[in-house]
């Protein structure tokens, strides 16, 4: 009887969250969070909370993998549609809006074909946007729609990209005169592009969502990481990376 209990106790101690063999907290997050979350995770570990394993991919890919059986302890997704997919698959215990990353207009260095959002609608200007199938593309189109520029800007499209890096690439190389990405992407591109803010009236301030899966021991760990992210320490890192809390 006793050996059994000790074994059980040991296995819980060693495994912590039973789903992962290495006992680490497993966070699956949207690719745009890479730099910021690595820093947050390091701070979380330094605060003595245990190891964190980070996995970055497009929100769509993360959810597809989760539905196929991958079991992270926490999701941070850039797209409400994907949160709904998780929820529909009955994989979620709870979810919250977390923080947002504003959209910005980016243009190539030393190029002045585009100096404001309005220029994207000017004939002959080359525009690159995310594809309508990805959140970045949907948000960018919503900005243009609010500004009354959508149709003209879409007529100027030279490419629809699958992710923000694709949009950045087309602008850095000068293939496009302007594009719309998250502020965090523009910040990550250092000085290879110029950033022009989008007027508040048109910005859709895309939200990120924290989703905690339905699973016994992982629930607590997921919540602990969430709490840390919203704490002063977590916020200051995220804000340094251009994310904004309400």
């Amino acid at each position: 009887m006793w050996p059994c209990r000790i074994l059980l106790l040991l296995s819980i101690l060693v495994c912590g969250c039973q789903r992962r063999d290495d006992g680490a907290l497993h966070v699956a997050a949207a690719a745009s969070l890479t730099d910021a979350l690595q820093e947050v995770a390091a701070a979380y570990e330094a605060a003595g909370h245990g190891d964190v394993v980070l996995e970055f991919a497009g929100s769509q890919t993360i959810v597809t993998r989760a539905i196929a059986g991958a079991q992270p302890s926490l999701f941070i997704l850039a797209d409400e549609v994907q949160v709904e997919r998780l929820s529909k698959a009955q994989l979620l215990a709870e979810h919250f809006t977390a923080f947002s990353s504003p959209l910005v207009l980016i243009v190539p260095r030393e190029s002045y074909a585009v100096t404001s959002l309005d220029d994207l609608a000017r004939p002959g200007v080359r525009v690159v946007l995310g594809a309508e199938e990805v959140p970045l593309g949907r948000y960018a189109r919503e900005v243009l729609r609010r500004a009354g520029l959508l149709e003209a800007a879409q007529g100027n499209l030279i490419s629809e990209e699958i992710d923000a890096l694709g949009v950045l690439g087309k602008v850095i190389s000068g293939q496009a005169d302007g594009g719309i990405v998250y502020e965090v992407n523009a910040a990550g591109a250092d000085h290879r592009v110029r950033t022009i803010p989008i007027p508040d009236a048109f910005d859709v301030a895309p939200q990120y969502y924290i989703a905690i899966p339905r699973s016994g021991p992982c629930l607590e760990e997921g919540r602990a990481f969430h709490t840390f992210l919203e704490s002063e320490a977590g916020r200051s890192v995220m804000e340094r990376h251009q994310f904004r809390f309400e």
Binding site: G58, Q60, T64, P108, R126, V128, A131, E133, V134, L157, I158, S159, E160, E161, I162, G166, G169, K170, S173, G174, Q175
Partner: protein, 269 residues
Amino acid sequence: MTRTATSSRSRSPGRYVVLAAALCTVLFLTLPLLGLIGQLNWAELGRVLGSSVLHDALILSLLVSIGAVALSVLFGTPLAWLISRRARRTRGLLRLVVIIPMVMPPVVSGIALLSMLGRRAPLGRVLETLGIEVTSNIAGAIIAVTFVSLPFYVLAVEAGLTSLDRRLEDAAATLGASPMRTLRTVTLPGSRGAIMAGLALAWARAIGEFGATMTFNGNLQGRTQTMPLAILQTMQTDLDAANVLSVLLMGACVLILVCLRGRLFGDVS
């Protein structure tokens, strides 16, 4: 009679090993494709068949791949011939030039092309002042795809030309044939098999290319979106439709290969 032949041959145990290995290879190559077909959502088929995405991308893919193969033949054949006729060291060097693009990740090839032909790159800028646009249109797609698929054609043809018995060419020359006539009547017919293999390899690589195309030329339905790009974009929201597109692309390629088989691959030994 067949039975006798089989029984006499089957005595060797090595034969079973070879057969088993060959069978494994066939299964390895076909089962994933059958899986893809097995996952087909037939209800999606009708919707996808009628969509402009499929129509636009399929036509562009065919045009681009044919264009890339034509350029490969036009510019690749002379290079293959040159490589096969050089001394060993030059040959090695030229081969390296051909092989390097093959080992580069396609996305890198796209970036490399941009560094030469992009709108802010030296050659690209010159072309733009002349009013010639070589990116974000069908020309850009053909350039990207040719860069990636031409090496396959060159290597295959060069291997054929190198293994050709040079004495046949010498004999033709001795009999008074001009160099052009020797090329036309001896060299090219003698390497027909290699040329066909090169065509097939280059075309197959061309039709599936998306990394260099996406990076160099972009992705816009009706203008630059080839089938692999359409599949990638559709996959972001609709796996079923992407699956249908993939199977249709596969079907179109099989159909083309079967139609050309008699003409291209029929009697090549």
